[in-house]
């Protein structure tokens, strides 16, 4: 979605909203608070466990909310509200089928293995399960992807602030990123997590008024749907599944196979189950039950995020006149683009003070995403690249110092990326493709390692490498020969969004096939080395006498039933 927003960021003759002194005070107090929290938590981040793993003493609620907030990223609210204006309620798939099943599977099935082996990171798990080569390959790709993505998001956020508020790009980049650097360098992951929970609350409280006031004005849900049908009679923007029979019967140009298999079974599990950025938050839980409950709590809140993201997009379709335009058309005609739907609604409904809170929600989203990136980057760099490749034996204190320095340097690299993108906008396309290159192959490697004890070190390494190369190859093929999309997505009607889904699917398939074949041809590890790492070789601790309402399985089932009901309601 950042692509859309970046394209929007041309110099604006006037800003979309204007802040009053009380709005500025709300924003300034937020910055003081996050810095104060970082300063206070410095005393708790003096050991490796304290700095990199927040002491592994987080409650399920803190770990769960932080797990979710780290994913919110810089442009979650604006990007997906814009996507909803463009594609309608179909964007909800990225919050429901594109998240909930994977989050529940992580909590209920995978978490015991991540947690019992006491790994510091997902690449660390691959080291224990496979070998050092697999760890370094995944660590390097993750570190690379993380700082570059962080830089892209930083630049996109600065451009949004310029368009929305008229703030100078350099000011936005340096103030927000240095603030994140200070509080993460001081308090490590603990500080990042504390601030993520704070930011999560602010995002909700800053954004929730828009759908409330919008729905009142539109005459409730049915009034809003009627207005959308009146405004756009030719398109179906309000059904989640009924238009997905074919690529050309919905605004997104995708079919149900792409959504269910590509998004629900590959991309989403790849992100939520193997991306260390989010998994790191859960690893900080104080015990196994909290670690299992955290993703389930996260899933419960994830299901509700469409209220503050998708609903504003739909309200834009119902209420905003003149209609918003595709970016290129808006640039030519001087109208407002899809990407401005959320700021326009903020300016429409939020008076003095509330507007400051809404802007704080946007800034908080950016900072929580960036803190997630830099803290995960520092951990992977220190434990999975620096320690195995540069300095194997050193004191805990030394690794903490390295972690602090690389947190800071990670922010500087991100800033450098932001300025690089400012000069060469096309770089953005490549960096944004990074996630789709690495996530699906990682899923195949982690799942086979965790659930099939025959998988071997060479199998894991070659599967991950060739799966990643497949993903990059397919992306490059469609980039050079756009008509190849019809082959990759298996339909001449496929649109660009379908590419990500099918590219992920094929790279996952290649990873699995290569891993299985190489594993069968190489010598497996003895079972004694797989204890705590692989299902079938690991005894999962059971808490006897736990009441039913405290069992993760019970709450996981509740969340899954609600997920099914929501999909049926909006079918």
């Amino acid at each position: 979605m950042n692509t859309l927003l970046l394209a929007a960021a041309t110099p604006a003759s006037s800003t979309l909203v204007h802040l009053s002194p009380v709005d500025m005070a709300v924003i300034a107090i937020y910055f003081m608070m996050v810095l104060g929290i970082g300063w206070y938590l410095k005393r708790f981040a003096k050991t490796g466990e304290g700095f990199f793993m927040a002491g592994r003493e987080m409650t399920a609620w803190i770990a769960g909310l932080s797990f979710l907030a780290a994913n919110l990223g810089s442009l979650e609210l604006m990007g997906w509200a814009a996507a909803t204006y463009q594609y309608g309620i179909l964007a909800t798939h990225w919050y429901w089928i594109g998240a909930i099943p994977a989050m529940l599977f992580l909590g209920l099935v995978m978490m015991p293995f991540y947690y019992i082996c006491k790994t510091h990171s997902v690449p660390g798990y691959l080291h224990l399960r496979y070998n050092n080569a697999t760890r370094v390959l995944s660590g390097v790709t993750f570190a690379f992807m993380t700082v570059l993505t962080s830089g892209i998001n930083m630049y996109a956020m600065a451009l949004v602030m310029k368009v929305v508020l008229g703030w100078d790009i350099n000011f936005s980049i340096w103030v927000s990123s240095i603030t994140v650097a200070i509080y993460v360098v001081l308090g490590g992951l603990l500080s990042a997590i504390f601030n993520e929970v704070l930011q999560f609350m602010l995002i909700w409280l800053g954004a929730l008024l828009i759908p409330i006031l919008g729905l009142i004005q539109a005459g409730g849900w049915s009034g809003m749907v009627a207005k959308i049908h009146e405004n756009f009679p030719a398109q179906d923007y309000t059904h989640l599944w009924s238009g997905l029979g074919h690529f050309n019967t919905n605004p997104m140009g995708i079919n149900w196979v792409g959504i269910v298999v590509g998004l629900g079974l590959v991309i989403s599990p790849g992100y939520w189950m193997t991306n260390f950025l989010v998994v790191q938050r859960v690893l900080t839980a104080k015990d196994l039950r909290s670690a299992q409950a955290a993703p389930i709590i996260g899933a419960g809140f994830k299901m509700m995020i469409p209220i503050i993201v998708i609903l504003p997009g739909l309200l834009g379709l119902a209420l905003l006149h003149p209609h918003l335009l595709p970016e290129q058309v808006a640039l030519k005609t001087g109208g407002n683009s899809y990407n401005e739907v959320l700021p326009l609604l903020m300016g429409r409904y939020l008076g003095p003070g509330l507007l400051g809170l809404g802007i704080t929600a946007l800034v908080a989203g950016f900072m929580s995403g960036m803190a997630g990136n830099v803290s995960a980057f520092a951990t992977v760099w220190t434990y999975d690249i620096y320690r195995p490749l540069i300095r194997k034996q050193a004191s805990d204190d030394h690794y903490v110092k390295v972690g602090r320095w690389w947190t800071f340097l990670g922010v500087l690299i991100s800033i450098g990326t932001a300025y690089l993108v400012m000069q060469f906008n096309s770089i953005m396309d490549y960096v944004q493709a990074l996630f789709s290159w690495f996530v699906a192959p990682m899923l195949g490697t982690v799942l086979l390692g965790m659930f099939w004890k025959r998988t071997t070190g060479p199998g894991g390494f070659w599967g991950l490498l060739l799966g990643t190369l497949t993903s990059i190859g397919l992306w490059a093929w469609v980039k050079v020969v756009p008509s190849a999309l019809a082959i990759v997505a298996m339909s001449p009607d496929a649109k660009p969004l379908a590419q990500d889904m099918f590219q992920a699917l094929w790279s996952f398939v290649v990873t699995v096939i290569v891993t299985v074949l190489v594993s069968l041809a190489t010598k497996p590890k003895p079972e004694s080395e797989l204890v705590g790492l692989v299902r079938g070789c690991t005894e999962i601790p059971v808490e006897h006498g736990l009441p039913w309402h405290k069992k993760p399985l019970f709450w996981g089932t509740v969340v899954f039933i609600v997920f099914i009901i929501l999909n049926l309601i909006f079918w």
């Binding site: 009053s20 709300v26 107090i29 708790f44 704070l198 939020l350 003095p352 509330l354």
Partner: protein, 71 residues
């Protein structure tokens, strides 16, 4: 590792309390000095009741999770 760490919910409570006061105050000021170009749905005075909500939530968290003296 220090055992007695202030809860994050206390910090959240403090911030929401301050925001509640600011936003409620801005809402009251707007009531007595209506803007020349008010936002839509201004008749609902969202600033006032949202400010009260933030203040009450903030106060609850601040008191419930306030730092306690070590035994």
């Amino acid at each position: 590792m220090h055992k007695h760490r202030i809860s994050i919910w206390f910090f959240i409570g403090l911030l929401l309390t301050v925001y509640g006061v600011l936003i409620f105050g801005a809402g009251i000021y707007e009531l007595s000095h209506p803007q020349e170009h008010p936002v839509q749905m201004a008749q609902y005075h969202a600033g006032i009741w949202w400010g009260v909500l933030l203040f009450v939530m903030g106060l609850f968290y601040t008191i419930k999770f306030r730092p306690k003296k070590e035994p």
